[in-house]
Amino acid sequence: MKPDSSERQHTAEAANVLEVKDLSAVISNSAASARRIEKLCMALKPGTLSTMIGPSGVGKTSLCLALMGWLRPNVRIVSGEVLFGTRPLLQMHQRQKQALWGREILYIPQSSATALAAPRNVVGQISEFAGDTAQERSERRKLLQAAFQRLEIPGFDEDRYPHQYSGGQLQRILISTVFCATPRLIILDEPTTALHPDLKTSVIEAIKARVREIGAAALVISHELPFFAEFSDQTIDLSASVPPAVKPRSVRPAAPLVGESRAAFKPQPMLTEPPRLAVGGLCIKAPSGRPLVRNVAFQVRPGACLGIVGPSGAGKTTILRSLLGQHGDAKGTIEVDGQRIPLHHSRRTVEQKRQLEYVPQSVKLHLNPALSVDYLIRRRLRQAGHDHSIDAVVDALEKVLLPADYRSKRSAELSGGECQRLGIALALASHPALLLLDEVTASLDPVNANVVADILDRHRASGSMAMLLVSHQPEIVARLASDVLELRDGQVVHPVRDNHAPSASREDVAGSVIYRESEPRQCVL
């Protein structure tokens, strides 16, 4: 560690490689939204590795490219200065900047299959730099060969093309550029996301060693802060420069909900009532013949809510789709109110179809963009044989806490959360016997998810309708479901206990679900 500290001392005295002074920029992600970055300041010293973090969607990549002098069409620099060494980078001519890129400033893009041109071989592309002489080229090739060995990338001599490498290999190939060039500034965009966890440390250490060796400054853009904090000499947090007009990412409500669910008393369905939905011996195969769901059976009583949980790929959505009649290759029985209904939707009568209502994960996609909210609700009310006056439509909107003037809107004018609520309003308007909910809150932020859960909770408690809830999120399952069916690999792990009153065992089930599901949830939100 000794040479390390001495070198750091040395670099502290050296001039900054890159200095950003009070940079303000506007980065627009789409036609509608633009993010502002205000008064960004930073200084990168030679031989150091800095990490840039920030809220997702703020345009970190676009910003870093702007620091190199490459302005994407969606970036506008408002004010401020970027100094590369002592030269103002933003005021340079295109030709001067082009001479810097590659030789002095090296950008390593995020791993993707399109980062390299498909019709040319990989080694040739990576070792190719503008204006190289033949001698330089052969030197770079040698350096690259060593880098390939060091980063354990196969096939240096095989004349391979980009599509012949995996995502993780491509990422290391892109990183290997660092080893065949001697730039003063290196910008690495998410250099570890596609890497296998075992490799991350060694790759980063290799980069760090290289940075020291050639006395360059490295700037890493990353999501994985805890991992990079260990390696980086400084951390640049963009959220400090993003004005608070941007909605802060609220922390998800944690554990207390479990306790809440225990406290909230769920009215248990009358046990004497016949089940609203009875599914028996349901087996579903994929077109390839692989079984998706094996021998699943469950019942849902009026006023009850069955939560279906399990890891992704366990067959949760498959069950919902088969209830809707969308799986041609299904076996078993589906009974609604004691009446058996055909498995495929083409053989069901209109009445049978309308007994089921479905609220998908993204209602927005499931709404016809050309029709108004008013028309959609009215049609469902009319089909169900109910009053379809304006008042009834307003009433239906109020049930899901949407204002009355939303009648004239179309789906494109509503936000994601409003669409989910509208989806529930539409489903309720047709007064179904059974409501199928597919990850209704998965794409919502916690505040909206709570509102949706509240609405559903109220209607479950008041109606004679049965609900089927497929969800990743333990909170909403714990909150709404009176029973839980856990699936794994298409089979039931914890069967529904509908013969005895809910006891501690049910809570255990919910608890185990929460434990298992809390991990994937982080990536969902």
Binding site: L65, M68, W70, Q98, A99, L100, W101, G102, R103, I105, L106, Y107, P109, S112, T114, A115, L116, A117, A118, P119, R120, N121, E128, F129, A130, G131, D159, R160, Y161, H163, Q164, T177
Partner: protein
């Protein structure tokens, strides 16, 4: 296809037979489609008022003689049966006899076919210029690019005969540079052929330059948005270098496809241009066969051109299939 992309294909192809089978399947479908198209043409010509016999006999027509000839030609049999006979004859190379000139169809067609092919070939010579136009408009500064785009757009809006008349007016009538009427005869020398073909082929070529140039420009602009282009820019390469070395090879299959689509267009474009310039080719023959209701000639021209058309489109679909396969990799 470049050598590079060929090798990359070879790496990927695990079972060449599966590929072959799908190609064979596609070809069968094309043949069936061609057969249906031939049937449509046959039944269409069967709708033509008047019949072979009255046309054939002309002045000598008497009801008895007509009935006799009709029987000997098999015209009294049901339509589907006649179609099968016609098709079998057609496949054997017996195309019948022209009503107007009373000589076998093939002999009418043969000398004209050469002229048409020469014109089409001459038109294809403009393809390199079209490629240059596309790449040049991509590399041009934004203002000149916009100007070029506008120009190409206007040319695309102009029908080929208007271009032809404008060219004749400017180059033949005003400037006296080239002949306004293109007579192609076997006794002419090669240089005479070239001189005669410049104007008509240029009329077709201008359209190609506009079409191919515009498509190429939009393809290249799409490539420019891709990550590899940005990455290469950020390694200090100029736009023109990346365009020529990375982007053009990447879109090569699309360029081949463009060429094929243009060939298909040429098939009908040639017909119009021939009439304008008075070149005696297939197009002129087909038009006069419509005017004179010369059914055997019309049938031959229609089926012949359709067959080439289907062939070109099959080839272009094959290329497009390869493109999408590469895209999926």
């Amino acid at each position: 296809m470049s050598v590079d992309s060929l090798t990359s294909e070879q790496h990927e192809q695990r079972s060449p037979f599966a590929n072959l089978r799908s190609i064979a399947f596609e070809l069968t479908i094309r043949l069936v489609i061609l057969l249906v198209a031939a049937a449509l043409i046959f039944f269409g010509t069967a709708l033509i008022p008047g019949d072979f016999v009255t046309e054939l006999l002309g002045q000598d027509y008497t009801p008895e003689l007509g009935a006799q000839l009709r029987h000997s030609l098999g015209l009294d049999r049901p339509l589907p049966e006649r179609f099968v006979t016609w098709l079998l004859h057609f496949l054997q190379g017996e195309f019948g006899q022209s009503f107007t000139s009373r000589i076998p169809v093939w002999e009418v067609v043969q000398p004209r076919l050469g002229n048409t092919l020469m014109l089409a070939g001459a038109a294809l010579c403009w393809f390199p210029l079209a490629l240059t136009a596309g790449v040049a408009s991509f590399l041009a500064p934004p203002q000149s690019r916009r100007f070029l785009q506008l120009f190409m757009q206007i040319v695309l809006c102009a029908p080929e005969f208007l271009i032809a008349y404008i060219f004749i007016y400017v180059f033949a009538v005003q400037l006296h540079l080239l002949p306004a009427v293109s007579r192609l005869a076997p006794d002419q020398s090669v240089s005479q052929h070239i001189r005669v073909l410049i104007l008509p082929s240029a009329c077709l070529g201008v359209g190609m330059i506009a079409y191919v140039g515009r498509m190429l420009l939009s393809l290249l602009l799409m490539e420019e948005k891709k990550d590899y282009f940005e990455f290469a820019r950020l390694r200090g390469f100029s736009r023109s270098w990346i365009a020529l070395r990375y982007a053009v090879p990447a879109i090569l299959p699309s360029i081949v496809n463009l060429l094929l689509i243009y060939c298909a267009y040429l098939l009908t474009g040639v017909l119009v241009i021939e009439v304008v310039f008075g070149i005696s080719g297939i197009g002129e023959l087909a038009v006069s066969s419509v005017v004179w209701r010369d059914i055997p000639v019309l049938q031959f021209c229609a089926v012949f051109i359709t067959a080439i058309y289907v062939g070109i489109y099959s080839l272009s679909d094959l290329v497009a299939g390869q493109i999408s396969k590469r895209g999926a990799l």
